[in-house]
Symmetry: C2
Subunit: 185 residues, 2 copies
DNA sequence: CGACTCAGCTAATATCGTTAGCCATAGAGC
DNA sequence: GCTCTATGGCTAACGATATTAGCTGAGTCG
């Protein structure tokens, strides 16, 4: 039996690809093992369990998403930053639906999530939002983006109105919302 | 073997309660059967499969949600209607997380979803939004609510800022967004 | 060259969904 | 009240999956 040269990183990466292809909840150790040309129990030499594998994907993907958001907003501010942030967020979620779903199942400590929050905070600072107001606005922004992308990639938008145009509308609407964010409540 | 008096409706209702308690993806025929004091294969006399059972929950729950939204917005319009709509949406999602998750896995034709859309359309008409603009605004509204409630019930909001206050901020922000919805794009 | 580590294997178990076929009960018809 | 039938609930069985317990051979280090 020649060795397959597996490592935790290889297993996680393979699993992430499968999650992207088949869906987060279709991810199975059997599929990962087959993809790697290995028997299922062999995977346990590299990951503790299916749950641990999922957490691994979660951590890596949250980092990837944070990278994408940071890269998209470097050197810009205000409405332009919001627009690019939203675009990058949606692009990641659509290109990697399985990985994106993974980012929503956070482990207790996830450095990627913290970095994403930092990027968003920086963007919001451009609207003069800080402290509790920034927390609320960040949650609103995240909710809108998470909701839209989730609904889009699960086929939740039935009507044949262009989804791209609806997303552009959402982004413009979010700019309006942030510009006029209700103060002093 | 005394009869248990099952019907499709009873099975679906029981399953919905289990989904609310244990989570949508923890829903299992074994749990439903045990709850009903019956063996697993007996359920197949009333539902076609686990998938069909899930679809059943989905249809019923979408109807319940539509009812709640319609009831909350009857006789009001404008900002007040948006506020009540949002509140009822979140209340349903929090009180019935499993059922709510079910509403996001739509069957092909779901009368509840259509009724929900009608309620939202009526509310948006109060802001002069119709046609494509109403579609975009409805998607934005739905995205924000879906995102917020999903993140909330999955524990996605880490920071200890009050979630109630953040939701109030989101609702106010949505009112701002709808009032200033970008026209003529 | 020898011993040790460990990656991948087979075997086995538990849980689930699903199907096939049995049998007793509830209710219809007389 | 009696019979007959439709059917609800059952047991038995299979395939898929996750997980654990050992085995064995391949690299590696002295």
């Amino acid at each position: 039996m020649p060795r397959a040269g597996l490592t935790p990183a290889v297993v996680i990466e393979t699993a992430a690809r499968i999650a992207d292809r088949d869906g987060w909840d279709q991810l199975t150790l059997a599929a990962v093992a087959e993809q790697l040309g290995v028997r299922v129990p062999s995977l346990y030499k590299h990951v503790e369990s299916l749950d641990a594998l999922r957490r691994g994907i979660s951590v890596v993907s949250a980092g990837d998403l944070a990278d994408a958001l940071a890269e998209a907003t470097v050197g810009v501010a205000g409405d332009e930053a919001v627009t690019r942030l939203c675009g990058a967020y949606r692009a990641y979620a659509l290109a990697h639906p399985g990985r994106y779903a993974a980012t929503q199942h956070p482990g207790s400590d996830n450095p990627g999530a913290a970095r994403t929050l930092a990027v968003v905070d920086a963007v919001l600072a451009g609207y003069g939002l800080t402290g509790d107001e920034a927390v609320d606005a960040a949650r609103a922004l995240r909710s809108a983006l998470h909701g839209f992308t989730t609904l889009e990639s699960s086929g939740g938008f039935g009507i044949p109105r262009s989804i791209d145009r609806s997303f552009a509308g959402l982004v413009d609407g979010l700019v309006v919302m942030l510009s006029g964010w209700p103060r002093g409540r």
